[in-house]
């Protein structure tokens, strides 16, 4: 039975969906439940990773240190993971602190074509003896060959795996198959996949990834995550079991963890809304949904139009300020019309 490592970013990607307002009680209880289920990796932090809490991206209720220490207290066998994006997270202020808090797995993310910026963070984490993955976000925005080239950079910096993030939920299963196969052929390290469900394909895409050689798959409780959410964790575990892949996770217990998340953390169970679909079609980061909806209603424009215009401009996370610019222009055109 081939083993697939499941990484659970419920308390990180899910943070987007509740405006980064996770409490210590939620982190503590969810981590205890995930630990109980045998979850290999539990990721914790602000939706955009450690060090990203800010006015522009949304401020976390808790400090990074509080979140990590709370999680660490409950995760004994499960590894504690973080997502960091160089630029938001600095080595001295954030990464060093996170490692001191006992983080085991560090996932260093960047835009799909910008792997160069991850060199120092990956190297530092390796020097501190931690497990490090490179994460190529918005991977639909780069051609497969480019993804391989960027992944090779991360491998050369010392990354122990490269994760392709379908941040906009824009991939179809064949897109995933093509990219994961290419990376699996061209790299000497493990390959992983992080799905979003904008087009309702998160589970199908995760299966395509594993069947093409991916060995690390992300999933969140009830699919809790930015926009339309992620691959639903408990479904992933069940499906992989059915497909004869071993996850080492207790199905009933991961279902219990998901029940807890639904009752105590989720404000709304993620589903594929119209804006999620257009976000997937336009190839815009799922995490924009909350801001787009708010701005659309403020300016009286259709959020779907905002998404398509943002997609045309090829915006990436961190460019949330462009939402207002686009809405203003659309509102202006509407007034003229």
């Amino acid at each position: 039975m081939t083993r697939v490592v499941i990484s659970d970013p419920t308390l990180r990607d899910g943070s987007h969906a509740i405006r980064h307002q996770l409490t210590t009680a939620q982190i503590s209880s969810y981590c205890a439940a995930a630990e109980e289920s045998g979850m290999p990796i539990v990721e914790v932090g602000h939706g955009n990773g450690i060090g990203a809490s800010s006015l522009q991206l949304g401020e976390s209720l808790l400090s990074d240190r509080e979140m990590l220490q709370t999680a660490r207290g409950k995760l004994l066998n499960s590894k504690l993971g973080i997502h960091i994006i160089p630029g938001f997270a600095t080595i001295k202020r954030d990464l060093s602190m996170a490692i001191d808090c006992g983080v085991d797995v560090i996932r260093v993310g960047c835009h799909a074509t910008e792997a160069d910026i991850t060199c120092r963070h990956i190297s530092y984490a390796r020097q501190r003896g931690r497990e490090v993955y490179g994460v190529l976000m918005m991977s639909h925005m780069a051609a497969p060959d480019k993804l391989l080239e960027e992944s090779r950079k991360m491998e050369s910096y010392g990354a122990e795996a490269v994760i392709l993030m379908d941040s906009a939920g824009a991939f179809l299963p064949n897109d995933v198959k093509q990219r994961i196969s290419l990376l699996n052929e061209g790299l000497g390290i493990s390959v992983g996949f992080h799905a979003h469900n904008n087009l309702g394909l998160a589970i199908a895409n995760s299966i395509a990834a594993v069947e093409s050689g991916a060995s690390i798959i992300d999933g969140t409780a009830r699919g809790f995550g930015a926009g339309a959410g992620n691959a639903q964790l408990e479904v992933l575990v069940a499906v992989f079991e059915k497909l004869n892949y071993s996850t080492g996770i207790d199905l009933y217990k991961v279902m219990d963890a998901a029940e807890y998340a639904e009752k105590e953390i989720l404000e709304v169970i993620p589903f594929v809304k119209s804006t999620s679909i257009v976000s997937g079609l336009a190839g815009v980061f799922s995490g924009f949904a909350i801001h787009v909806n708010r701005v659309a209603s403020q300016y009286g424009v259709d959020p779907r139009d905002i998404f398509f215009e943002l997609g045309r401009r090829k915006v990436v996370a961190g460019q949330e300020d462009l939402i207002i610019e686009v809405a203003t222009e659309l509102a202006g055109e509407k007034d003229k019309g």
Partner: protein
């Protein structure tokens, strides 16, 4: 640098020269320019020549050219203050004139750090190609130049076929020239070609060394190579994590052997010849991890990080050094086990020195 560390280096230099001193005799009274002089190779060459000067009155002079010359006093303060060593703080690409007293040159400027190859391929290519061109042009005008050793790379052969136990100098492989990840190797190939042209047109006595992998004192443990990471992990209590396929084959030469071989190639190599430089005895990553773990006071756990679903990427990089051994009479004095043991000792002593 504490006395313990200096004593280790001194012992290594003594060991490597004890039985073969006559090989290095032509170095006496010469002035040697080393580019990349403050790097791993340059520092070891300086250590060995300084030892020869102190112990056997070689009276050789060393010029270390580097764009990081300012950092040498922190790295090797005992060398930086010596009267027989001068530092030239200059970028190799902008070199115009070389002191006329220089009679021997070892051209080692270039970083083998693969992280830099990936992030700054243009800069890497320029340092190797433009730097070599500038140096050769300047060297061709030197009145007393006797010999020039160009440090190339074992990577110029491209991927080693898995059924080939060791790569000979005549192996006609080659990296993928259209991939940015081949920058370092392709630039080194071009540098070799430039050397051949200068040898042909200017009748310069140019020899090429193609180094493989090394482990020993002065090698930084933050470099992204397996054995460095294993040692670092081992020294910090582990676990030692093997990235990729544990059957991947590498070989490691100890730096006192490396420095001796380099000088022997410079002094006795046949102009126009290229010599592999390294340890011909391959070890798998799994074996290396075991060797490192065995040298730790408390044996750390060894884990393999390659998931079962990942494609196996086995590779080999092991030189055939019989050309250097047979024609230059070179021997390997420090085997892999001993190299690992000494490197661990050095790094532990360095930590206690901090």
């Amino acid at each position: 640098m504490n006395a313990n560390l200096l004593e280790m280096i001194h012992r290594d230099c003594h060991e490597v020269t004890a039985a073969s001193l006559p090989t290095l005799a032509p170095l006496k009274g010469e002035c040697l320019l080393i580019t990349g002089g403050t790097g791993f190779m340059g520092t070891w060459l300086a250590e060995l020549i300084a030892f020869l000067n102190d112990t056997y009155n070689f009276n050789s002079k060393i010029l270390l050219l580097s764009d990081r010359a300012y950092s040498f006093s922190a790295k090797a303060p005992h060398l930086a203050v010596r009267k027989d060593i001068s530092l030239i703080d200059r970028d190799i690409c902008s070199i115009v004139g070389i002191p006329s007293e220089v009679s021997l040159i070892i051209h080692a400027a270039a970083t083998p750090d693969s992280r830099l190859h990936a992030s700054e391929p243009l800069r890497v290519a320029q340092v190797i190609t433009n730097g070599t061109a500038s140096l050769l042009a300047s060297a061709s005008r030197l009145p007393r130049l006797k010999r020039f050793l160009n440090i190339s790379s074992g990577l110029i052969y491209g991927p080693q076929p898995l059924d080939l136990e060791r790569i000979e100098e005549s192996f006609c492989g080659g990296p993928n020239c259209s991939s940015p990840s081949s920058t370092y190797a392709e630039a080194k190939r071009y540098a070799e070609l430039l050397c051949s042209i200068y040898r042909n047109e200017y009748k310069m006595e140019i020899i090429t060394a193609r180094p493989f992998a090394f482990i020993g004192p002065y090698q930084l443990l933050d470099r992204p190579w397996a054995i460095n990471n294993f040692i670092r992990d081992g020294l910090t209590g582990g676990p030692i994590r093997i990235l990729g396929d544990r059957e991947t084959l590498r070989s490691y030469m100890y730096p006192s052997d490396m420095a001796f071989w380099l000088l022997a190639m410079l002094l006795h190599g046949v102009p126009g010849f290229s010599y592999n430089l390294g340890n011909p005895n391959g070890v798998t990553l799994g074996q290396i991890a075991e060797k490192v773990a065995n040298c730790c006071p408390v044996r750390p756990e060894i884990s393999a990080n390659l998931a079962e679903n990942a494609k196996i990427h086995r590779s080999s990089l092991v030189p055939d050094v019989s050309l250097a051994q047979k024609t230059l009479g070179l021997k390997l004095l420090v085997d892999t086990d001993e190299a690992v043991r000494r490197t661990m000792l050095w790094n532990r002593a360095q930590v206690s020195n901090c």
